[in-house]
């Protein structure tokens, strides 16, 4: 009877170990799915950051549109283009 209990214990432990190993395998599988979600989320985040950068670059370029700059500088700030006699050449001797 004593021997039989020991054998049962070994069987039980073996089953438990296999069970744990399978659980670990399952856990890894689930983790990989979880990583899939994370990867997708990060990929979306990267794309949206890239898009935001492009939107900002487009906005910056529109603000630097020379026609717009000229309209502001000449039209609103009343600056004038320098005339021929206003150019002064500085010669460093």
């Amino acid at each position: 009877m004593k021997k039989s209990a020991k054998e049962l214990g070994v069987i039980f432990l073996s089953v438990l170990v296999i069970f744990l190993l399978l659980a670990l395998y399952l856990n890894l599988n689930l983790s990989s799915i979880n990583y899939g979600y994370q990867l997708q989320r990060l990929s979306n985040e990267r794309d949206s950051v890239r898009e935001e950068i492009d939107q900002l670059l487009a906005r910056k370029a529109s603000l630097l549109n020379l026609q717009r700059v000229e309209d502001v500088v000449v039209g609103q700030l009343n600056y004038q283009y320098p005339q021929g006699d206003q150019y002064i050449k500085v010669v460093v001797e």
């Binding site: 630097l64 020379l66 050449k89």
Partner: protein, 567 residues
């Protein structure tokens, strides 16, 4: 405490029961996870797999300083999912309050809803404001099943009309239609990929892999300088307006390497609105305008004559007091000249003198010279509309062809060909093909190969004569105080209905500083009213552009008199 037999047996039964249960679970796990793994994965994929087509974003187009000329950004397009026409009509009625649609567009959508079309575009590429309004409407009316949005890309040209003809434009599906957008469409648009994704019950992606890799569009770097392009377009438009001219074109080139710094055509258009523009506005005149160049072409006649030693600079030509009858045709000068030296023929632009120079050269040599200056063939710019011009083979020349070609008739050229020809003098006798694209993606574009066309001595002599054209000849209005400018004027009658008319093409080509040229500029104005001589129409525009470019590129005059401080 000793257990009795009954209790022990009960314990064993429970143990065996649990063991069987655990073994069952184990077997099932092994079956699901290992034995039937492939089958199960196949079933999962069948239920949750979706294949997405990925549409790459077009590459950005930059100028030589990294300024953005064209960029794509995300935009949403609105569509109706028409399962129930009554509900769809109700939603569409509401959304017309937030969206600007033409009456034709509205009628078309109403018709399609009633016809029962399942998918109907409402508006492609909404503005941010329109998208906000429609998403609010979608939420408020709980119309998620009816009104949908599709993410696309929208091409933006932040510089407005600047460099419109170079950039071209794209269609509604972001396909290149004109200009660089069309010519380099394959590189700029990239290649769409296919992505296989696994979705869960909430339609969230938890796994994805590319079946076909997605190749993003390449960025393109142009040799154009946005600031110079802007100066040039502004000056050109001002001149056209002042002279009520039909159109015009200006090309600005780096004299040493052929890089195009600006290439303007007028009338212009907004590249973002390509579909709504007339062909006349979209036409890139710098590469596709064909015309008789007139006296600017004497550049070729004179250079070839000097190069072949058929005459010398002080040789005198009888200019027949302004009218020469030649084989049934009459050659006239813009004013009567008696005797002019070779140099004076160019300085005062005598057609009769130029014809006599060409006679000394002979038709074969003349044809070879014209051809070597790059006429009759494309310059090789990556622009779809470039014309090769028209240069008849010498066998098809008439008795008077040599004479008329000498002062720029019986040949059709484009402004870019003329710029290239003038640049031969600026570049020490070498023909350097113009370059518009400096980099595509990570690959630098090849530098053009320079070919010697005329010798150094011929080139120096021609530059000196062209300086005189500006200081004392027909091109006085192109002169800039303190700066050596070399150039040549041109005035040619236009062909209308197969005959030369009283409409003119006025042009001026030149470069500066003449001693060490940095910039070559060619200007042509189509059909100016009231005044039409190249020296009166194109030369002042050349000067205006040259002055702006000079300051911008810091090419200062050698001396500017009193406005000079020495420290």
């Amino acid at each position: 405490m000793a257990l009795n037999r009954m209790e022990r047996n009960r314990g064993l039964v429970i143990f065996y029961g649990l063991l069987v249960w655990a073994l069952f679970l184990l077997v099932m796990l092994v079956k699901v996870q290992i034995v039937d793994y492939s089958h199960n994965i196949f079933k999962v994929r069948l239920q949750s797999k979706r294949v997405f087509e990925s549409h790459p974003k077009r590459g950005t187009i930059y100028d030589r300083n990294g300024q953005i000329l064209a960029i794509s950004v995300e935009a949403f397009s609105a569509f109706l999912s028409n399962r129930n026409p009554e509900q769809t009509e109700h939603v569409f009625e509401l959304l017309t309050h937030s969206l600007v649609l033409s009456s034709d567009q509205r009628k078309d959508i109403w018709k399609r809803i009633r016809k029962g079309d399942r998918f109907i575009w409402v508006k492609r590429k909404l503005t941010d404001k329109e998208y906000d309004c429609l998403t609010k409407l979608q939420t408020r009316e709980n119309a998620r099943e009816i009104l949908g949005f599709w993410k696309e890309h929208k091409r933006i040209y932040p510089q407005g009309e600047t460099a419109a003809h170079i950039l071209g434009g794209v269609g509604i599906d972001e396909q290149g239609l004109e200009g660089i957008e069309f010519a380099l469409d394959h590189d700029i648009s990239g290649q769409g990929g296919q992505m296989e994704a696994l979705l869960d019950a909430r339609k969230q992606v938890f796994h994805f892999e590319y079946i076909k890799p997605h190749i993003p569009g390449k960025d393109v770097y142009l040799t154009i300088d946005t600031a110079i392009q802007f100066f040039v377009e502004r000056a050109l438009n001002k001149t056209l307006k002042a002279l009520s001219a039909k159109g015009g074109s200006v090309v600005v080139m780096d004299s040493q390497n052929g890089d195009l710094l600006a290439m303007a055509s007028a009338p212009s258009y907004r590249p973002g609105n390509l579909g709504g523009e007339s062909r006349n506005h979209v036409k890139n005149r710098a590469v596709s305008l064909l015309y008789d160049p007139g006296s600017t072409f004497k550049l070729v006649t004179a250079s070839a004559a000097l190069e072949d030693n058929v005459c010398y600079p002080q040789q005198v030509f009888d200019c027949a007091n302004g009218e020469l009858k030649y084989r049934g045709q009459v050659i006239i000068d813009h004013k009567p000249f008696s005797n002019l030296t070779f140099e004076e023929v160019l300085i005062y632009s005598s057609n009769i003198g130029a014809a006599k120079i060409a006679f000394l050269l002979g038709r074969e040599k003349f044809y070879r010279a014209i051809s070597s200056f790059g006429f009759g063939r494309k310059t090789g710019l990556p622009l779809p509309a470039e014309e090769r011009g028209l240069l008849h083979p010498v066998q098809r020349w008439s008795d008077v062809s040599t004479a008329f070609l000498a002062f720029g008739y019986e040949i059709l050229v484009t402004p870019i060909q003329m710029t290239q020809a003038f640049n031969i003098l600026a570049c020490g006798g070498f023909l350097v093909p113009p370059r518009l694209v400096s980099r595509v993606g990570n690959t630098d574009a090849m530098l053009p190969i320079a070919t010697r066309i005329i010798s150094d001595s011929t080139c120096s002599r021609m530059v000196s004569i062209f300086q005189d054209v500006v200081t004392k000849g027909t091109g006085k209005k192109a002169s800039i105080a303190g700066l050596d400018v070399a150039g040549k004027t041109g005035t040619a009658k236009k062909v209308v209905n197969g005959k030369y008319s009283r409409n003119y093409m006025s042009s001026f080509g030149g470069f500066f500083p003449a001693g060490d040229p940095r910039v070559t500029i060619y200007v042509v104005i189509d059909d100016p009213q009231d005044i039409y001589y190249g020296g009166d129409v194109a030369a002042p525009l050349f000067r205006e552009i040259a002055e702006s470019v000079m300051v911008y590129l810091k090419v200062f005059p050698q001396s500017i008199g009193s406005s000079e401080i020495r420290i």
